[in-house]
């Protein structure tokens, strides 16, 4: 069950021996079908992917090597080539842009680790607690999924209201209900902005972790729990040795997905702070956005995008290697 999930991407990217043999057998059986049918079937998808994903990606890489500033927007073909100039500016940590990129990278990494870690813990705890039937289980499951169903901007804009200094719920609660502080803090500017963006992102992400872990737990056969129960294992031991053990492959995929999605999260900081966020919450994607569309330096923006993409490719590649080793040892 779980192995299938992990194997799928690996198999499609690089067909292994067994898949190829199975493929051959099928080819002979399916050869009666017209040879061109599958190509016609995927043609629309291929065209759309080319137009919206593949070509723009190649253009984006090319753009990172030219000095595409506001002077060349309408006449982009005449923009001068600058070689690795944009990368040199982005990675020159002595100038202000490079320094900002490093700071932004650090903020994004911290943001991602916190959001992924806490969302995962929330998601799996809720799934564990909802494993067995009890009154209100169905209702709770629905309630927990609402943030996932809500359009991103509606949820985030509500949080923005809650974080307002003078009329938000958070300060009302901290100052007038709990009396923790007399001085209402600002949440959307300065250092607290980082806390705010992390909280909102967790609110949005954890339902997905909940959904995936819940589905994973449904796949664990009841016999295992029953057998362990007869052998005298209490519920905590069953959770530790059966549920969490069986969940490992799904958790690995879930953590990777959450990491990739959170690292390139754009909606949360953009709706909370607008195109120019406070330094503490200056996440990479918004940084790239403002370099490109506020300062109109597309070349630099593209170079930063390519760096961001390379980082994610390295993470995903490292994950795949680690996952393969773990599976071989297991």
């Amino acid at each position: 069950m779980a192995a299938a999930l992990v194997e799928r991407p690996a198999r499609t990217v690089a067909p292994g021996g067994s898949a190829r043999n199975r493929g051959k057998r099928r080819v002979s059986r399916w050869l009666v079908w017209n040879k061109w049918t599958p190509y016609l079937l995927i043609l629309p998808a291929v065209l759309m992917e080319l137009l919206i994903h593949v070509i723009p990606m190649l253009v984006g890489m090319w753009m990172s090597f030219i000095g595409l500033t506001q002077f060349f927007i309408t006449n982009w073909a005449t923009a001068p080539g600058v070689g690795f100039g944009n990368y040199r500016i982005a990675l020159n940590f002595n100038n202000s842009l490079g320094e900002k990129l490093v700071q932004s990278f650090g903020a994004t990494l911290g943001f991602t680790l916190l959001v992924v870690g806490i969302s995962f813990i929330f998601g799996i705890s809720a799934s564990l607690m909802l494993q067995h039937n009890f009154r209100g289980r169905g209702l709770l499951r629905t309630v927990f999924l609402i943030p996932y169903a809500l359009p991103a901007y509606a949820g985030i804009i509500t949080w923005k209201f809650m974080f307002q200094r003078d009329n938000g719920l958070i300060n009302e609660f901290l100052v007038n209900t709990l009396h923790i502080t007399d001085d209402a803090p600002f949440w959307l500017i300065g250092g607290n902005a980082f806390v705010a963006v992390v909280i909102v992102a967790i609110w949005q992400q954890w339902p997905f972790a909940f959904l995936m872990t819940m589905a994973g737990m449904q796949g664990i056969p009841d016999d295992l729990h029953e057998a362990a129960s007869i052998d005298g294992a209490n519920i905590w031991q069953r959770i530790r040795y059966i549920t969490l053990g069986m969940m490992r492959p799904i958790n690995a995929v879930l953590l990777l997905l959450l990491f990739l999605w959170t690292f390139r999260e754009f909606n949360t900081p953009f709706v909370l702070f607008g195109p120019v966020p406070p330094d503490s919450a200056n996440l990479l994607t918004v940084n790239i956005y403002s370099s490109s569309f506020i300062q109109w330096n597309f070349g630099l923006g593209s170079a930063m995008s390519v760096l961001l993409m390379l980082f994610l490719v390295v993470i995903a590649g490292g994950w795949a290697l680690w996952n393969r080793r773990v599976n071989r040892n297991a």
Binding site: Y39, V46, A154, I157, N167, A215, Y289, F293
Partner: protein, 280 residues
Amino acid sequence: MREERSFQIARWVVLVPLIIFTVAPLYVMITSAMKPLVDVQGAFQWLPTNFTLQPFIDIWATVPLAKYFGNSLIVSVCATAFSVVIAIFASYAISRYRFRGRGTFSGVVLSTQMFPGVLFLLPLFIIFVNIDKTLGFTFLYQTQVGLIVTYLTFTLPFSIWMLASYMDGIPRDLDEAARVDGTTALGALFRVILPAARPGIIAVAVYSFMTAWGEILFASQMTNSATRTLSVGLQSYATETDVYWNQIMAASLVVSVPVVLGFLLLQRYLVAGLTAGAVK
């Protein structure tokens, strides 16, 4: 199986904070939408003291919400329809055929999931502008067509993957029998696979619609005042002088209701479809 007392206590220790965390914004959204403007400008009130439904009337006048609503509806419905149809064909090919390039196609489609949207936004912006310049009229840049094309492609990779997993679960004997009886490939798809894959198709449609309805990044650059969608339009309730928080909350509520209702009604399918690949 017996549930230990410690587990029953732990259950509520874990669940109660999560419920509060999840529900608090929903509570704020609903109650604030029913307060007059002065009440949302002062300190936060836990309960609405001057209950009013006026914000739900005002939202349509303060900004052209109906137009944004219509734009979002057109874009989301078209993107969903095209995306589902294209994904059905592609996933059918992946699930039922072994052809040269199948691995490459799946690999490329899946890997696009990894790349940040900003990376596509800049080049797409330039590509759209230049296609329009070549055509001589505005076809893609800041039009609904451009937005539809973009959104449908965004949802394609995940839709194809999800539907292909779902179709893998439908026994081959079914369509092979139809083939033996002399149906064409498309005939087998329409008469056998589609009815059997209905839950998966509904899941893909819900996912596509939610994605298009909630998208912000591309909507912020790829629309103008005529094609503006809700995700960007909602921010215009904040003017230089006043932020109409009660109206923002009312508008957020109004634009959320269709998707949340749809999600709740079709939740079963979405969960089944989402997990078809994971649980199999």
